[in-house]
Amino acid sequence: MKRFKIKVDPAVCTGCMRCMLACSWVHSKRFSLSGAMIMVDASGAECSITFADGCIQCGSCADACFYGALAKQAPEEVMP
């Protein structure tokens, strides 16, 4: 499996949490917020996006984001 570093741009994040749902699906084939390795907190003026240690850098969260707030960087940049 390819691994990607995820570049985040919180300024364009809308707090939709679709990335979190995509991540929980990858890990458990179920949808939850608690099972996501990416955390989006949209309660402030700007969203904050953080990753938990369990992130396997699969890139599914970035694939799910409609707003360009998450971008997969080319795999070789991470694991040459």
Binding site: C16, M17, R18, L21, W25, R30, F31, L33, S34, C47
Partner: protein
């Protein structure tokens, strides 16, 4: 059999009087028959609502529901519905909101619905964390505005989860007070806030650490990927994401919007993010931030004569803080100004003059109304209260009203559409009062050529055989549109989307069709569902809604046409653009009832309709 895919499978019952809570499961048959979300909430209301109940009495329940797709990541599956008897109209109404976090957290906590009954003897908020359900003391929140309440609760919850809260207007039972979901989406302009306030219920906070499962993962994945792909390829996606509702209603130039925009806010899993966080960039309110269900709402006072957009934003955030509907507020203010001018409402030296386009006057009156101070005490009772108190003299100077509420669109209203399409007619036949949310159809866009209609109608689930009835010629060989007949299907399509949990706003709605909805529903819930079956269930849902209101004696008798709408310059007919006549609207209403299989004299669903829909045994 209970159900646990798509659905969480349970209803949380909360009795505020005794403080007792319980969890009851939902049978898969009931879930299937009423789809879920909006439809299932109506079904639960059949048993929970005591017919004839006073909306502000402890016995009036609040039912909250969220659909089987909510929390699954399907685009724009975010909707949360409340059903209660609304004080502004005295009818059973749905109140809907897009949920940023509320709906999905409710699902992850293990519930599709909450039924709240009774009244607490002191201010409380309902705090749900999975199975741990508590009524917590809200004395420190009582008297606070919406954002203040949410901020304090978030301090306790660490910012996680969803919150529905009321402001001071709800506490003080203002008839047009609302609940606010996650501080951004509004819910229930007919007085859901007042119903919560009357129960001493300041807020509902919910956090769920559980999950939602889907029944057929492979099928789900294919459908979800196709849909996401279609949306990504939509040529106007970027523009929607940048402009939000300004795209369909350009109230201010895009350059100005760029100046005030802090960020867009999206409901859970929505690609369009039509909600807004803005900041006033200069002037006396420099640095003031406001979040809203749409920037259009924040700017709406411009339509009422405000010349400075910054003052408009300031006023609407104040109304949002108190928790009052802006449209109804302005309607009431204009009416009150007239009542004062005529000497019908006695002037009080402590009450400043009402000046509709003045921030200081409107600020003072917003506070008086929300707090029931001075003449605000009377204005807080809405049109219904003022008309009941001042009788015929007041009625003579009232604006166009439907079910004692101020319509969104029409000759005396804020939204300037004057062609009479389904949303406009729907304001009359909608049991909850003049709302446009359920009446969407291709007439949403004025002057859309009729030859583009069939494609949209098929998408909305209109059966092929009904299309000629909708697009039949009237008056000779001119092309025609039977708005009343079409509205029956607008309501069924709204029932479909609302029951699944999908947002019905035009930018979202366009990507869904009946086939996709039934396929998604089946994949997620595991309940076998053909498009034909879903179509029937949606008709059942809206007819059940009607029956709930017929039981409250609100059949056809409350569907009155405001005279102002048919007095020139009033509404114009959608196709011919000729001035609309009373007779034509009455014909549309009859056509609507006929198409629904409801009696054109009384408004009640016909026995044969109830039998076909399997609703006959519910109301015996």
């Amino acid at each position: 059999m209970t159900i646990n895919t798509g659905f969480s499978g349970a209803v949380l019952h909360v009795d505020l009087t005794s403080g007792r809570t319980s969890r009851r499961s939902i049978s898969s048959e009931t879930a299937r028959d009423f789809i879920g979300g909006l439809g299932l909430t109506f079904r639960l209301a059949v048993d929970a609502v005591i017919p004839g109940i006073d909306p502000l009495a402890p016995g009036n329940p609040i039912l909250i529901g969220t659909g089987p797709l909510v929390g699954t990541g399907i685009p724009s599956s975010s909707r949360v519905y409340a059903v209660t008897k609304l004080p502004a109209t005295n009818t059973i109404g749905w109140c809907g909101a897009g949920g940023m976090a509320f709906g999905c957290n409710l699902k992850y906590a293990g519930y599709d619905h909450i039924i709240i009954t009774g009244k607490s003897d002191r201010p409380v908020y309902l705090d749900i964390v999975d199975d741990d359900v508590k009524l917590r003391d809200a004395s420190g929140l009582w008297g606070k505005g919406v954002s203040g309440t949410i901020a304090l609760i978030r301090q306790r919850t660490g910012g996680r989860g969803g919150i529905a809260a009321i402001g001071q207007a709800g506490e003080n039972r203002v008839l047009f007070s609302m609940a606010y979901i996650d501080g951004v989406s509004t819910m229930g302009r007919g007085g859901l806030g007042a119903v919560m306030g009357a129960k001493n219920l300041k807020a509902i906070a919910v956090r769920g650490t559980g999950h939602v499962e889907v029944s057929d993962a492979a099928r789900y994945k294919t459908l979800a990927a196709e849909l996401a792909g279609t949306i990504r390829n939509y040529p106007y996606l970027k523009e929607w994401q940048q402009l939000g509702m300004l795209k369909s209603f350009p109230m201010v130039p895009p350059e100005l919007y760029e100046k005030i925009k802090k960020r867009r806010i999206a409901c859970v899993s929505c690609p369009f993010g039509c909600k807004d966080l803005v900041e006033i960039p200069d002037g006396p309110f420099c640095g003031h931030t406001a979040s809203s269900s749409s920037v259009i709402n924040l700017l709406m006072p411009i339509v009422y004569g405000f010349s400075d957009y910054r003052e408009a934003i300031r006023l609407v955030s104040l109304l949002d803080e108190f928790g009052m509907d802006m449209f109804e507020f302005f309607g009431i203010m204009k009416f009150a100004a007239e009542l004062f001018a005529q000497g019908i409402l006695p002037a009080n030296e402590n009450d400043p003059p009402i000046v509709i386009n003045s921030l200081s006057s409107m600020t003072a009156w917003a506070e008086k109304t929300a707090m029931r101070k001075g003449a605000g005490e009377k204005l807080a009772n809405g049109f219904a209260g003022l008309l009941a108190k001042y009788g015929d003299r007041a009625a003579a100077c009232a604006p166009a009203l439907v079910k004692n509420m101020h319509p969104y669109t029409g000759p005396d209203s804020a939204l300037p559409w004057d062609l009479f399409g389904t949303m406009e007619l729907g304001q009359i036949t909608e049991p909850r009062g003049p709302h446009v949310g359920s009446g969407g159809s291709p007439t949403y866009f004025a002057k859309r050529p009729l030859d583009l209609f069939p494609r949209h109608l098929e998408r909305m689930g209109v059966p092929k055989e009904a299309i000629p009835r909708i697009l039949s010629a009237n008056a000779g060989d001119k092309p025609g549109l039977n708005v009343g007949t079409l509205l029956a299907y607008s309501h069924r399509w709204f029932s479909t989307l609302g029951s699944l949990g999908i947002c019905a706003r035009a930018q979202v709605n366009r990507f869904y069709n009946l086939e996709l909805c039934s396929a998604l529903y089946q994949a997620v819930t595991g309940l076998p569902t053909t498009p034909e079956q879903l179509r029937l269930r949606a008709w059942r849902v809206w007819s059940l809604y009607k029956m709930l209101n017929v039981r409250e004696n609100a059949g056809l008798n409350t569907d009155t046409v405001p005279q102002r709408w048919v007095t020139r310059p009033g509404f114009r007919e959608y196709v011919s653009e000729e001035p609309l006549e009373q007779r034509q609207v009455q014909q549309m209403i009859s056509a609507y009832y006929r198409e629904q299989g409801w009696n054109v004299e009384t408004g009640a669903p016909e026995p044969v309709t109830l039998k076909r829909l399997g609703l006959n045994s519910l109301f015996t």
